[in-house]
Amino acid sequence: MRSPSKKKTKKGFALITALWIVVVMIILSTALIATSTRTLFVVGNYKIRKQVTALAECGINEALAHLIQDKTWAGTLPDNTTPDPLKNLPSNMEYKVSFDADTTGYYSVNNLNSSVPAKGCKGRTIPPYSANIICVASVAGVSRIVDVFIQPASDRDSLLLVQNQIDIKLPTDQGNLNLMSENSGLADLHSNMTGNAINVTANSINLKGQKISAVGNINLTSSNPDVQGTIQSLDSPITIPPMLDPEELDTRGNKPYILPRGTYTKINNTTYSFHDDYGVTPDRTITTGVLPGVTVKDGKLIFSENQIVNGELTINGELSFDEGAYLQLENDDKYYEWGGDETVALGSLVVNDGRISGNGSVVAERNVRFDVSSTINSADPREKINIFAGGTVTMVSNSDTMATFSGFIHAGKLVATEIKNASGYPKDLTIYGGVVVNQNTLEPLPLPPPEPEPVEEKPVMKSLKRAAVMAAVAMAVPEEGESEDISIEERSAEGGEKSAGGGERSASPPSTGVRSAESGNEEDDVDPYGRDGDEGGQPKTAPMPKLVPPEPVILAPPEPVITDGDVVMANIKNLTIVYDEDYLNLINSKQSYQNYNISSWTEYSK
C-alpha cells in the first residue's frame, strides 16, 4: 500500500537562499577582517621591530668599540662614553649591555683572555678566547635581544712573519724546505720588505698547499720547482703585532723573584753550580729550594715561579719552565757599580748544552741564544715556549739528536746557521708554532754618571771668583790718601758669612753674589790682590784673568741599536716549519685587536 505523496512547493526557497548568502558573506567578512587585522598588526610592528633591532645593534657595536680599546672590558652600557643622543633617548626607548650576572637576566661574558671555557647566560658555554655580547633593547614596549659571539680577527695567518729579509740557504743537493699547517690556518711565510724580500735556495721547496708571500720580490732557487703552493710577490704588508710585556704573560699574578746574574752549570741531575765572574753574588751550589721558585730535577734548572734577572744569564744545561712561569731579562743599567760592561750587563740569555723546555716564556731585553737539540718529540703539546727578545734569537745545535723548537718566537732577528750534528754536518731543523721578526729599536746601556767633583776648586771657578771680588773691591777703593775701612780679611770673613746665608747674597753687588755662594769660605784662601800678608795699603796691580771657560766635555749619548728584522737560516739539511695556531692562542689572546669576527648572530624576543 502506497502512502499518499506530499505536495511539492517552492515556498521559502528565496529565504533560504538569502540566508546562505548572508552566512557566506559573514564568513568572508570575518576572514577579511581577520586577515586585515593581522596584516595591519604585522605592518604596524615592522617599523618598531626594525628600530628596536637597530637600537640593540647600537649596543653591540658600542661594546665592540670598547673591546677594541680594551680586550678585557666588561662594563655596562650605556655609560659615560656613550654618544649623547643615545644617552638621552626618549623614555620609551632603552638598551642595555651588562656583564654583571647578578643583576640582569641577560648578561654578557668576556672570555677573550681565557684559555678555558666559561659559563655564560642561560647556562651556555663560552669558548676560550671569545666573548658573548648580549644587548637587550626596547622601543615602545617592544623588546628585542641581539646575542652575538665574537672572536678576535686576524688579517691572515702567518707562520713566519718578517719585517725585512728572509734568507734561507739549504744544501742544493739534499736540503728541503717544507711548510706545513697543523690545523685550518694557512701557513704563510711572509716578508714586508720591498726589493729582494725572500731568498730561498734549496733542493726542493714543498709548500704543500701553503704560501710564500712578500711585499717585494721572491727568489726561489730549487732543483725541484714543483712547490705545490702559492707564491705571491708584491703582496700587501701585514701588520706586525707588538711585543708583549711580561706582565701580560703572567698567569699567576705573582711578582717575579730576582735571580742572580751569572752562570749556572749543571753538575748532576739534582745540582747546578752558580758562578759570577764579577763576584757580585758569591759562588754557590744550586739545588731545589736554594733559590726561591727554582728547582733542580732530572738535570733541568726548572723555574716554577716568575724570575727576573738584571744582566746576562748563562745556563750550561737545560732550562725548563713549570706551568706558564716566565723569565725576564733586563739590562742592568747600573753595571758600572760592579765593573761590568755590555757583555754581561745586557738582558740576554744563553743556554748551552741543553734546551728550553716546559711551558713558559722568556722575555729578554736583548738576545737569546739557545740549544735546540732534543731527545723528545717537541711536537708534544705540553711543550710551549714563548721567546720574546728585543735583539737576536739564535738557535744552535751540535749533537746527533733532533733539532726542534715548539712554541712562538718574537724577535728583532732570527738566526739559525749552526744546526749541526756531532760531526759538524748540517742536520734537520723543525719549528712548530710561529715566528714574528720585527725591526726593533733597542735602548742602549746608559753612560756611567760623571765622577764626583774634587774638593779642590776648579780653575775656572777660581778665576770667576777672583774677578768678581776684584770688581767689588775696585768699586770700594778709597780715594788716594784715605784709608780702607774694611780690610781684605774682613771682607773675606764677611763674604764667608754671607755665603753661609745662602740666598741673602742678593744684597751684595751682583758680580759678587753669583758664584761665591757655591764656594762659601773658600774665598779666604784667595788673595785677589796677589799681595803678601803683611803688605797693607795699596794693592798690587794684578792682571785681570780672562773669563773664558774651558770647552765643556760632552759625552755623546749612546745610540740606540736597531735590529735587522731579518731571518737568516743556513747550513740546515731539511728545514721544516709547521704552523700551529694552538701555539699562538696565548699571543693572540694578549694582543689588542683591531677587529673582531662575529661568529654567531641571533635575534630574539624575551
Binding site: L40, E57, E62, L64, Q69, P83, P85, L89, N595, Y596
Partner: protein, 157 residues
C-alpha cells in the same frame, strides 16, 4: 473601509508576501552596512598603504644603516667635530640627503665620540617619502617618516 484599515496598520502586502516595512528596514540596514563596509575598506586600505610605505622606508633606512656600517670608519669620521652633537658635514655626508626611488634619506644628526682609542660614530637616519605631484594627496595619509639610530664602531667584520 477594510483597505484604509489596512493602510492605517501599515500593512501593505506585496506579491510574494513581504511587507513594505520589512523592505524599507532591510534597505536601510543594507545601505548602512554598505557604508560601514566602505568606511572600513577605506580605512583599511589607507592603513595598509601607509604601512607599506612605512615598511619600505624602514627597509631603506635599515639598508642605509648597513651601508654606513660597512663603509670605512675613517672616511665617515674625517673632519667631524668630535664629542659634540652636530649635523654631519664632511665629504662623506655631503651626499645626503640622497634619494632612493620615492624616498629621501637624511642624516639629521651625528655624534662622533673620539675618546683616545675609543671611537664611535652615532648617526640619526631619517627616511621619508618624497611628496608627489599632487601635494594634497601626499600629505596626511600618504606621508611616512622613519628614523633609525645607528651607532658605528671601527670594527670591520
Amino acid at each position: 473601509m477594510v483597505y484604509l484599515k489596512k493602510v492605517l496598520y501599515f500593512k501593505v502586502y506585496v506579491k510574494g508576501g513581504y511587507s513594505l516595512t520589512e523592505l524599507v528596514l532591510a534597505t536601510f540596514l543594507l545601505v548602512t552596512a554598505l557604508l560601514a563596509i566602505a568606511g572600513v575598506f577605506f580605512s583599511g586600505t589607507t592603513a595598509i598603504k601607509k604601512g607599506t610605505l612605512t615598511a619600505q622606508a624602514t627597509d631603506i633606512a635599515y639598508n642605509e644603516k648597513v651601508f654606513l656600517e660597512l663603509y670605512d670608519f675613517n672616511a665617515l669620521t674625517q673632519g667631524l667635530t668630535p664629542n659634540t652633537t652636530c649635523v654631519p658635514g664632511n665629504t662623506f655626508f655631503s651626499r645626503y640627503p640622497k634619494q632612493i626611488g620615492n624616498y629621501k634619506i637624511q642624516c639629521s644628526e651625528c655624534f662622533y665620540r673620539d675618546n683616545g682609542s675609543l671611537k664611535l660614530l652615532y648617526v640619526k637616519l631619517r627616511v621619508s617619502n618624497v611628496p608627489e605631484v599632487n601635494k594634497a594627496a601626499s600629505t596626511g595619509r600618504n606621508r611616512v617618516d622613519v628614523s633609525l639610530d645607528v651607532l658605528i664602531s671601527p670594527n670591520k667584520n
